[in-house]
Symmetry: C3
Subunit: 460 residues, 3 copies
């Protein structure tokens, strides 16, 4: 089927409408949190011993910047592995994330930071907005190369909304702990994206097969993404943890899990190749699974060896997934998962949720201290009657809620994106930058098939 991929009016209008709406909503709803407001200096003076250092900014800002790099460089470059889709990988990720963080500030703000008629913005909101967009970047990995930027903006609009609802249910209603987002970000993002790509199934995608692989330099660009994700993941999992030991512990656990994951990914990658050669796809992706899978439990008393075990398992599971499960999903279940997000975010996300539930169940005052246990899980307020096993059950419930919302939401959004007027590329023009980008001279006339509408004269 041939669609019109000329976005001259559709993309500008979508962008401008969304941005105008955001400006208006920000004008009505968004103000600064006390820590970012000049009145802070007065409020602070009341307490004698307080220093400027107590501003939330200094607790969270370095982690925020690391997370920011993961979203824009990490996810953006990770997807540049395709030989002819580098502009779109980096560029569309940039676009959807820039839109998504603004919309997430509003959605998450209404649910979590709404005080006296206004959303109050502070550095923690910025981190959470980046987190929310992280789940969109995950889903983008499944549909990479097969959708137009207009579709991506629409998907982001809906996914951020659903993410915020799901997050509210988990964190506020079920009182689930999920600081690194194994459930809210990775599981939700992955199964949402897989459902969308399942709805958008393209039976003739094999026509673009020759572009659905890497070239030498594109793999090196992708390693930039991989490494920044890998290195900054300890910041990701600890960014919104409680001050002090919880944040400290989350970073240590993530560091350990990721290190172990690299060794088992390499081991399996070599073992599964008939000549023992390593596959860049596994090194680029499976090595990160350990970070996903300690997302929930990183701030808990998982113990360093527990983190190594989680990373150990995830490197194996994820690499096996790339070798056996992805082809199976594509051929049997009609799920075309471009980046293999099921192996990097789906399965490890579920493992992470389970690890989190089990770790929470096992929490006791011997390990955490009485004060530490109450403080960490917040067993007060309406949770006074809770114990660890109760917490564990709610953790597990959180996983199922995330999966349910991802699947139902994914179907609805997939159906909307299937409408034929969003400028999506034809099957034979997938994974191809020149559909949406002005290309350098050398490459201009080489790839597109003549029937591509982008080569016809532009509509008036």
């Amino acid at each position: 089927m041939i669609w019109n991929t000329n976005l001259r009016w559709r993309l500008p209008v979508t962008c401008l409408l969304l941005q105008v709406a955001l400006v208006v909503l920000f004008g009505v709803f968004v103000r600064y949190d006390l820590d970012a407001d000049p009145h802070w200096i007065g409020s602070q003076g009341d307490e004698n011993t307080t220093s400027d250092m107590e501003n939330e900014f200094y607790y969270r800002y370095p982690s925020f910047q690391d997370v920011h790099v993961m979203i824009f460089v990490g996810f953006g470059f990770l997807m540049t592995f395709l030989q002819r889709y580098g502009y779109s990988s980096v560029g569309f990720n940039f676009l959807l994330a820039a839109f998504g963080i603004q919309w997430a500030l509003l959605m998450q703000g209404w649910f979590h930071s709404y005080k006296e008629g206004y959303i109050r913005l502070g550095v923690e909101n910025l981190i959470n907005a980046d987190f929310c967009v992280g789940s969109v970047c995950v889903a983008f990995g499944a549909v990479l190369g097969k959708v137009s930027p207009v579709q991506l903006l629409i998907m982001t609009l809906f996914q951020v909304t659903l993410f915020s609802v799901n997050e509210f249910i988990l964190l506020s209603l079920l009182e689930v702990k999920d600081a690194g987002g194994s459930m809210t970000i990775h599981t939700f993002g992955a199964y949402f994206g897989l459902t969308v790509t399942w709805i958008l199934y393209r039976p003739s995608l094999h026509q673009s097969k020759e572009r659905q692989s890497s070239v030498y330099h594109s793999d090196l660009f992708a390693m930039i993404g991989t490494l920044f994700l890998w290195m900054y993941w300890p910041s990701f999992n600890s960014a919104v943890s409680k001050h002090g030991d919880a944040q400290h512990r989350a970073a240590i656990n993530t560091y350990c899990s990721l290190a172990a994951c690299v060794l088992t990914s390499v081991a399996l990658s070599s073992a599964l190749h008939k000549k023992g050669k390593l596959d860049m796809v596994h090194i680029q992706n499976a090595t990160l699974a350990g970070g996903v899978a300690v997302g929930t439990a990183a701030e808990m008393m998982l113990m360093p060896y527990g983190s190594l075990i989680v990373g150990f398992i995830c490197g194996i599971v994820s690499t096996l997934g790339f070798v056996y499960l992805t082809p199976f999903l594509e051929s049997r279940l009609r799920i075309q998962d471009t980046c293999g997000i099921h192996n990097l975010h789906g399965l490890p996300g579920i493992i992470g949720a389970i690890v989190g539930a089990v770790t929470a169940s096992c929490a006791d005052a011997k390990v955490y201290g009485i004060k530490g246990l109450a403080n960490f899980f917040g067993f007060d307020g309406f949770k006074t009657s809770w114990d660890s096993s109760m917490q564990g059950k709610f953790q597990a419930a959180g996983l199922f809620v995330s999966l349910a919302i991802a699947l139902v939401g994914g179907i609805i959004v997939g159906v909307i994106l299937k409408l034929p007027f969003w400028g999506q590329p034809a099957d034979e023009n997938c994974f191809e930058d020149s559909v949406y980008w002005e290309m350098p001279e050398e490459l201009k006339s080489t790839v597109l098939h003549p029937e591509d509408s982008t080569l016809k004269p532009a509509e008036p």
Copy 2:
């Protein structure tokens, strides 16, 4: 015209002379600030409640590192978009910045950190030196591909000097607020650079036209620069703001402005192409204009929606500039602006100065609190009789001073750089690495014209 581009003696002698001079001047003038001196431990012991955390290092160091990345990787890689000028873009930027920061430590030190016969170095000086060099990197964008490294070192020497004078007039004499440097860094840097390139006008530059564009991978390298600039810009605009809420607010405002700027840049880029395709040049550059334009006002009560509006406007203005203004400047005004810095730093810098003046004018005790207002604008000392509207007027004055010094300074420096013995390339060898770099074998003999002196035997 054919110049001798063999730098064998000119470049080494320039580098070594400058570096020896710097060593001597550092020896005579530069010592550590108290916070970086072993006596700090004694001074600190006087106050009972003070912790090591109160050392300025912990307030500013993470932001410093982000700014450092922007100067060296951000600006360096942003300019690698040219197909045959990657070595020079990254390498010369590295060279001029490494020289510039040392000279800036001295110049800014004399003006701002001179106590009892010595310049006192602390982390804030390092940030300010990076800022100062940022303005040189901006100007480098205008002359990129057309100057020799010797010319760049000379330009840096003068520009850092002029920058420091201008900064002193603005910050110390006019008491202007400009923490993110819309005026001091971007407006000054851009119009200085544009004036220099105007003086250095090359009528036959079209002979190098085929190299003045990108190739596929060079655009991806440039995106590394773009993204690191974009992601770390909140640190840039907040790095030297007052501790606490001002630093916090500056980061939030910049985050918002940049996000909005991406959407309008994409919208305009697509709308201005006849087939609705995106242009990498706009994505690489116009998306950053929002960061430039909140440089002055980011730490003020611009409000999040105000930041979005600034970003919204700058994405549009900057993209329009690339499409319509840059060709006009080149053909009519003889300003050959290689990277389009007028669109990324010039216009947005002016917008930023205006936004800052207006925001300062509107400041009142209702929004800032009485204590906050006095604290933020420093309405004490000789400013006791000031009010916000007075501050606004001085802000506006700062813009004109910056423009004036940039234009006059640019003319003088341009004339100096026009002298024929600095090793500049011939018109047909512009935008070409092999003039100044030993190249890998594959590329050695392909590009240069035979009359190029670099292909003749070396002078004795």
Copy 3:
């Protein structure tokens, strides 16, 4: 000689065995430090004025992340300059570092953090593990392109062990100051690596000569590594310094030294080329020598001008080394040093050790203050009778111990790695990714010689 390079069983078994052993050892030995344990909240409550900010995490975490980037992106990409070894440079560095940090946590933990039967992990341990692995990355530079990943894992196992022993002797027995690791990391790593490559001498390596150089884009990838190393080096040298002024001073000194080093590297690179052209190898490597050489003295009162002088000298020495010493080492001493680590880490490391010893010798109470001097050098406990000149002598002793352990250790490890069953490549297949990596289609059949075992049918 033809070796079997099929790693199908050797690499997976090595990785899995090592990782299982690490899990078991972590289970038996590793727990959280108090600052990362939920009991922290109780311990902290005892002191009234203490805030969450006093958690060690906030003092060290931003520096940790910078160091982490240096190890994985910095070293990884620095070595991608080879035209056909990018996958291996980044990928094997990733593998060895991920293994090395886990083993370093144990080795260094036993020596330095062993309390009541357990190693106590905190953020400082993570930094030190990264440091330890940094010395392995240095050594990897010498053998780059000539060893298999199995050999690298074995080298890492031994080198981390030896590093920890050497570090214990220097820091705990000799009470040497070496916060930035001029001796423990760079000198040790370089001479260990050079000894290993000397033992592994390949007389027919010239058969791979055409791949032992760069191509245009591979040099740009390498510059990513260079710049991240250069920019974050101030964090490297200050990461484990004492809180407050020492950490602050270490960052300033490193910043100064690196800046000066760039100018003299450029000067020498141009002066040593007959047409005055710059060589990318020098820009990529010699510019970093200044960071190595202030590793020991950065936290001392080296003074800013002292740092400039160190950088000045190292840029010259390192560039001269690349031009004259590396070819000499290869042809006369049979030391094939792929990345020239002798020039970047060896010589500057020795210079750094000497600078440190001299600076320590000159320390007096006039410069440091009485309190500062005692506090900084820890002249108490069994050091009560020490003075600065004593400290200087022990510093010098540390250099000789490091060299001795590096040479003896390097010989032993080199002999182990020479055994013929580790899957090392044949001389004509060195510097070639396709020996160990599944390659993209375009490149698959172009390079390897027919006698290469990887092209034969796989063993059963």
